[in-house]
Symmetry: C2
Subunit: 525 residues, 2 copies
């Protein structure tokens, strides 16, 4: 595929209307061809009118038709794997092999959502049959299914250029729900975005769907994102990125004449708690594992275990030594953008200004936007006294928190804001403390991991990638896993309908063989 | 029960700290004893600290224990039925028999939510077992259930003093989810609110629950509601009322440091569309039925069919004549408050200033806050040209819209904002038009009714009482029906947990006999 740098609006390739940009290779410190188009509010409007035009037909596609469309995207993604991985490597300075894996995983996500669509359980069909003889008044027949919300605006994320970007889980789940997508590509990887976008655009055309089902726009600055969030035809927004960026979009969308759901996944330090018996038994393993997980993707992962809390006592020194040894093994690597690298330096300096002790560092950077691995340490008292020490440092820094005892460990747990995940390392002798800690963690996180590390994120039915604020802006939903589709659906009840005017999912004979809730009981008949 | 007029905070009765009020009997035009206490932000804070204290224990109650608590509320409500109905009648000027029925229905709602709790399906448990041999990396065991959000602030509604108020569906569904409730009582019916609140307070005590599970506050002006919405310990808000009031709360909550979900149910004209063959066949029946439904509760119902759209042609004159005849039968009746009556006069006048023709009126008011039934008519051209004609007039006014043909009927359908419900009257010969109209309605409403009228609202599994903005502020949820519980839940995943640290709902042996999604398949084993 020859990259043209165009915007993809409906079925068309659209040239720049607001300047252009080039991708930046952070490993080489150099810009890369070709030029990529920027658009503005006019392109957003054009994409959304097409998406709105596409909505009625796309949201009413049959389950099999929609599932095949998602599978076609998966096939085409895999076919583009080598090209996509090579280009992404060029735009990130990270190894192509990482992106081959990410392409395969993303294709798998589209296939999993195809299965979700075929199963049809996301329709959450329920039937309360008529009760003509009920006293004091008869009951009319009621039948409920979920329907698609409308066109969805998706902000491609910077840190995973495939799986959280154009061909990522947000797009897969919105398309699975029956929502057309207008995607704002992230400027850190414009070529990868174009390849992914053209894969989807081609699948739309090959499936005979309305071209408005998918568009990709790109812009400089905030104007294009604001135009997307403000547009009256957008009915939901997803965003993965910083708390400042996410909350700006969130609050803006809530001030529209018609507020709309905005699912932002923002910030999490994913605290790890090591209870005393586990610490005494497995200090080296935990310290080494922490760093190995923490350095994944140069520490630029939502699920990085950024903070480890353990009681000063047997094993603590060993855990610290193991972490020091491991951190020193890691070379500096290119970060996503120079801006993110600057923020990394600023935030690690802030931690140290606030009393964090520098325990170890990895190999020195060659220069440029290379992130150097860093291990810091504070006491529980310090962490409790200084809120910024509990905030995320995006990049390859890890923080050990040495607490004075299990009571302070619990106090530290209570001091954290909402998290995507928390991890507990505990042995049998830690049971009493574990039982006290679990409800504290449950209130503050969407996922609790026991005696393991929390990444990589599974994409399955029992996955939660969400959590209380500021991990996300709506903890009732997940952005990863099969439940992610629920962000884009709403219930509609059909009351007293003749069978032949009902949607297929609700007809008396159950032609789609769905699990349905009939009078409150699940049945497939 | 002797009314004391106190606030109910946790297990205690709390005296006024910010003045008092008396209930107003709109039929007599006179105030009624006793004095009811107003509180302020200090009482809100006290209630929320108690609710937060109660959260860990209440949200972890066993399903059977929680179900019995809800059933005890139902029993106590029914036991208080005569007293509650008499007091509500006094505070509304409407017949006690109406409120006996409402009490029985509300008790039924608590029993239905008890059944929902026992079934445990609201936990939406999912299990993805470990796959230690999976390539390229093993899968850890993942288990998901829904957990309660935290303390919920509920604004009691004015129009249904029981079923949408203190002992209404919002309270039932929040308690069913495991969330403590702080209720702001509506000042239109303080005595009814106290009776309902004391029923719940007694059930909390008799069930041995933490007293912070339920509190009732009351205040003058907006201060108390703002204090509730602003309080950092509140994790969700529900509101039923006007668009202006609901959106003020909604936007305020989104500007908090930590935004929270606010489910507001606000405004809907529930348009009725009569297609030509149905009109020709059943004009009189439809015209009469429209008015009979529309006059329910003096037209102060969320589901009032406020606007009827029909093509000028065979049957139209008969429909109009039937509606005129029926409207003229209705006497003026007391409205909820003098302020609502003033708004009713203002809005009916605005409709007429904007060209609506006065076709008929009911009996004249005795004076005071009595709402007089009113039938108005506009053309489709007028409705399309003037947006305020598409807005709700809260009270016993109905609007006929005479459209020039089915194309204009479709245009009118497209012009409406989001609705709680829409109704379609169609016969076999209307099939083609019905099939064009249905997707238009589906996009704009949470419920479509076929050849019937849309009230009363069923409280069942297939119920939706929700819809696109401005019917609600989040169309992904319903406020009535068993799905209402979903507003107050969020997913948590337990990863790699030992069986005996898992919640009961997720243990391997399925001790609660729940339907669970295991590897994507529903099973009860």
């Amino acid at each position: 595929m020859t990259l043209t740098g165009d915007l993809l609006i409906g079925g068309e390739q659209v040239s720049a209307t607001a300047g252009t940009m080039k991708a930046f290779n952070p490993a080489e410190g150099a810009f890369v061809e070709p030029e990529f188009a920027f658009g503005g509010p006019a392109e957003v409007d054009r994409a959304l009118r097409l998406a709105d035009d596409a909505f009625d037909s796309y949201s009413h596609t049959g389950l099999e038709e929609r599932a095949r469309f998602l599978e076609l995207i998966a096939d085409k993604l895999e076919a583009a794997k080598d090209e996509l991985a090579a280009r992404t490597s060029l735009e990130t300075g990270l190894p192509a092999a990482q992106f081959e894996g990410e392409t395969v995983r993303s294709a798998g996500v589209f296939r999993k959502f195809a299965a979700v669509v075929r199963q049809g359980r996301f329709l959450q069909t329920a039937i309360d049959p008529a009760q003509p003889d009920r006293q004091p008044i008869p009951r009319l027949d009621h039948r409920l299914q979920k329907v698609a919300l409308g066109p969805v605006a998706i902000f491609g994320a910077g840190n995973f250029p495939i799986s959280y970007s154009v061909a990522g889980g947000d797009t897969a789940s919105a398309l699975a729900a029956g929502c057309p997508v207008v995607l704002k590509a992230h400027n850190a990887h414009p070529g990868a975005s174009e390849i992914e976008g053209r894969v989807i655009q081609e699948a739309v055309a090959a499936s005979g769907l309305h071209p408005g089902v998918f568009s990709l726009v790109r812009g400089s600055g905030n104007e294009i994102g604001e135009a997307l969030v403000d547009h009256p035809l957008v009915k939901a927004v997803t965003f993965t990125g910083s708390e400042a960026g996410g909350m700006a979009l969130y609050r803006r969308a809530q001030q529209r004449p018609e507020p709309i759901p905005v699912f932002t996944e923002m910030t999490s330090v994913n605290p790890t708690f090591v209870l005393p018996a586990a610490l005494a038994a497995r200090a080296t393993e935990i310290g080494t594992g922490l760093v190995q997980r923490g350095m994944y993707n140069v520490g630029q992962a939502c699920l990085k275990p950024a903070v480890l809390v353990a009681v000063e006592g047997p094993g603590y020194a060993e855990l610290r030594d193991a972490a020091i040894t491991e951190v020193e093994k890691w070379d500096a690597r290119p970060m996503l953008t120079p801006g993110i690298h600057d923020a990394y330096l600023r935030h690690t300096r802030r931690h140290q200004d606030n009393g964090a002790v520098r325990l170890a560092e990895g190999g020195a950077p060659d220069g440029g936007a290379y992130g150097q691995a860093l291990l810091l340490e504070v006491t529980g008292d310090q962490l409790l006294a200084e809120p910024t020490l509990r905030e995320e440092v995006f990049g390859p820094a890890l923080l050990l928190v040495r607490v004075s005892g299990t009571e302070q460990l619990l106090d530290v747990a209570r001091a954290f804001r909402g998290q995507l995940s928390a991890t507990l390392h505990a042995d049998a002798a830690d049971r009493v403390t574990a039982e006290r800690l679990l409800p504290v963690l449950e209130r503050r996180t969407g996922r609790i991991v026991f005696n393991a590390f929390s990444i990589p994120q599974e994409v399955s039915y029992a996955s939660t990638h969400g959590g209380p604020f500021p991990a996300t802006s709506d903890s009732r939903f997940t952005s990863v896993g099969m439940g992610a589709i629920e962000r884009f659906l709403r219930p509609v009840t059909y009351q007293n309908f003749p069978d032949d005017l009902l949607p297929q999912s609700l007809r008396e004979a159950n032609p789609l063989h769905l699990w349905r809730l009939v009078d409150g009981e699940l049945t497939r008949s």
